[in-house]
Amino acid sequence: MSNKNAIQLDAVSKSFDGFKALSEASFTARWGEVHALLGENGAGKSSLMNIAAGLYAPETGSLFIDDNLVRLKGPLDASTQGIGMVHQHFKLVKPFSVAENILLGLRNDQALSFRQRLQQTAEEIKTTAARLGFTIDPFARVDQLSVAEQQRVEILKVLLAGARILILDEPTAVLTDAEAENLLTTVQNFAHQEGAAVILVTHKMNDVMRYADEVTVMRTGRTVASLKPQSVTVGELVKLTVGDAPTPPQVPASRAAGEVKLEVSELCSTNPNAPILRGVNLSLHAGEIYGIAGVGGNGQSELAGALMGLPEPVSGSMQLVGEGDLRDLSASRRRELGIACIPADRYSAALAAPLSISDNFAMGEIHSGRYGPFWFLRRRRIEADTAAAVSEFDVQGVRSLQQKAALLSGGNAQKLVIAREFSRQPQLVIVHSPSRGLDVRATLAVHQRLRSARDAGAAVLLISEDLDEVMALADRIGVMSAGRIIGEFAQPADRQAIGQAMVNHV
């Protein structure tokens, strides 16, 4: 490991619409190291790295690459300087092939025809992939790849563009344990063996402890510490990140579950081209959290969609005891029965980002007529209810109820969804990856809400690809694989056994 600085950001500040995202943040990564940038949601990690990648222009501060002062005019400049960033939300053209996507990011300085360049790129993709220890078909369409594979395409894209400083923004958020391990080992090799600099933007303590050589901690737009992760404990690191140490998640106490609330039987996808669900059977009791664990892409999204009342082509039944099939219930009836849904993707299924917080909140009770008849909206009542819910559910960052929902950070947007869905005492809660992209504190708050809903007698179905989350919350755990529940475990369950079931079953 050399001691030369690869990239150094000095006292960088940046504001968005009056909000100071970064105040005098400084960060230094050396060649040959995996440098973790740790912090809660909204701490400014992504903003700082977007400045490093030339996407944002800072207001003050300076940037050094290889100890030379540089000014980046844009991402292309950054790429010339050898900086490559893999964003949390991939920037790939879905209907294009892997090779086409990668070619898009390369400079057109050759006298070759498009077809020749494509062929050449394909070869480079194969060699680079082999060097990093995986294989990928350069001519596969991107939308047919799994999330983990798409991420590899992103990495190849920046590496083939010549990146020596690789920035990965929350790379493991969408991966399973095994995939994450794979990825982190790969980038570790890239740093240690090839002498590159890898910056890992994350809020996962375990990734930091296991893979980082150095960690910089950010809090509210400032860099608060830079140290070797081996020299501290997880507790100390958590304390640095959140300011005060939160209580660790606990395995829920077993309690006597009530009668059956929801009976799903033989739920199958009816689309013959995508038979994703292949006969899901489960029964959910009142007063329990039933967790569905599994590797992503085994039908969890489809199951969640069907249960949440989205137009999902399925056969089989989803009987809500005493009320009939979930599909036959209108939106207003679902609300009346206290069915609460918390989808995985907040901004495509729960919140209209450009609309105000109060407009979004109003949808919870709009059907019941609480907010007036069809021809009149009782705005004052909506605002009062929203204000009460915002304070009760601790939604932060609300400057005004008329502010767009898009301005909320991930955790607070999730709290707003929960506030709306739980505005009536929930009887049946269907949640999908509720803590995806949330920091430690927000995750704990969300988990606490789910536990108290259960303790109040609600039946909670938790679908999550994060095994730790399922282990921490669920009273019973079903493992989903290839569109079926292939095994059930009662708490206290053996993490190893569940992990085995998740990956072994075909």
């Binding site: 709009i366 069809f374 021809w375």
Partner: protein
């Protein structure tokens, strides 16, 4: 880490561009008003180049058009149907339905009204309300097919509404050159409406049409901003996927809104035939479809703003006509001015989305 000697800011410029998250509506209105002003100044420059003396221009546009009682009446008279098509555009676009069939719906509105007059349906005292009702229903029905096709078969409404215009137009020509032609002369129009079939003046030459238009504008405002349907519509407009997921009856909202759009366009047809022409003519609708879209765009689909913009467009129409008479300026100049205004307002979007801010304490 911080070395003052070689410290240099990343940016030497003292101004920075920020993406704005939100802008209060009155600032947005101010920006748009300024953009309109810039557009008008450019237009004035073009008119001066085209041969209108600069002093006369101000006289023509501002003094004569707005401060002369007769011209002002002409502007208001012209504005009523423009307000209707503008509103029709606003509501349809809010449902993400690109209703390019405003003209077809206007034609059917006019045909519906004329049929009541021609066949003398109802007593004279009820004739005008019946004509209005008939126009509304006919306009609405002409919008029904495209919206049903879109909702059930995903047929692109841009094509279907546009093509239905031609059907409506040819049917109109069939009527005014055929069975409905005024027997007294040979021109392609229907017989003159009787006096009680025409929109009366309420006082001092102010047509009932403009009163009606204002009233309808407030009803549409109610629909979009006060009713629950308006809230649903905001969800459909901004995030159709979320709307469905949170229980908005998306299809019903789209259906209702598009039918309202058709009804408003039908009303515009009624206002022209019963308010201005006094009969069904073969070309009364020309230009209104484009103007409706333009007004809705300039007004950002806001009903009250649409009313104001419609008044502006009407002023342009009236002033354009007198420029045509006195300075031989072609009427297409009016369309050019419209286009300039649209481009200016579209560009002003940049200032609504961004903020230019001076960096405090930035070194140079």
């Amino acid at each position: 880490m911080f070395d003052a000697t070689n410290f240099q800011p990343l940016l030497a410029r003292r101004y920075t561009l920020e993406v704005r998250q939100q802008m209060a509506w009155y600032w947005q209105a101010l920006v748009i008003a300024l953009a309109l002003l810039v557009g008008l100044l450019i237009s004035a420059a073009i008119l001066v180049v085209a041969g209108v003396p600069a002093g006369e221009l101000l006289n023509e546009f501002v003094i004569l058009t707005l401060f002369d009682a007769q011209s002002l009446r002409a502007v208001l008279f012209q504005a009523a149907p423009l307000i209707m098509v503008g509103l029709a555009g606003c509501v349809a676009f809010r449902a993400r339905f690109w209703n390019l069939g405003l003209e077809g719906q206007m034609i059917w509105g006019a045909i519906g009204a004329t049929a009541i007059s021609l066949f003398e349906i109802g007593p004279p005292s009820m004739r005008l309300p019946l004509m209005l009702l008939s126009a509304v229903v006919c306009g609405l029905i002409w919008a029904l097919a495209p919206v049903l096709l879109k909702l059930h078969l995903k047929v692109n409404e841009i094509i279907s509404t546009l093509m239905l215009n031609y059907i409506a137009l040819n049917f109109l020509l069939h009527l005014v050159y055929g069975d409905w032609k005024d027997p007294r002369d040979n021109f392609p129009y229907s017989p003159q409406y009787r006096v009680f079939e025409r929109l009366p003046d309420v006082f001092d030459g102010l047509s009932l049409a403009i009163v009606l238009a204002t009233l309808v504008a407030f009803l549409v405002l109610w629909f979009t901003n006060v009713s629950r349907a308006g809230l649903y519509l905001r969800f459909v407009d901004n995030s159709p996927g979320v709307a469905r997921a949170v229980g908005v009856p998306v299809n019903r909202v789209i259906l209702g809104t598009v039918l309202l759009s058709g009804a408003l366009a039908g009303l515009a047809g009624f206002m022209i035939t019963a308010g201005q022409e006094g009969r069904l003519t073969h070309s009364f609708y020309v230009g209104y479809g484009f103007s409706g879209i333009l007004i809705a765009f300039l007004a950002r689909n806001q009903p009250i703003a649409a009313t104001v913009v419609a008044l502006l467009v009407a002023t342009l129409f009236v002033a354009g006509r007198s420029l045509q008479v006195f300075y031989q300026i072609p009427f297409s100049m009016v369309q050019l001015i419209q286009a300039i205004l649209v481009i200016c307002v579209a560009s002003s979007e940049f200032f609504i989305r961004h903020r230019i801010r001076r960096i405090q304490g930035g070194q140079s």
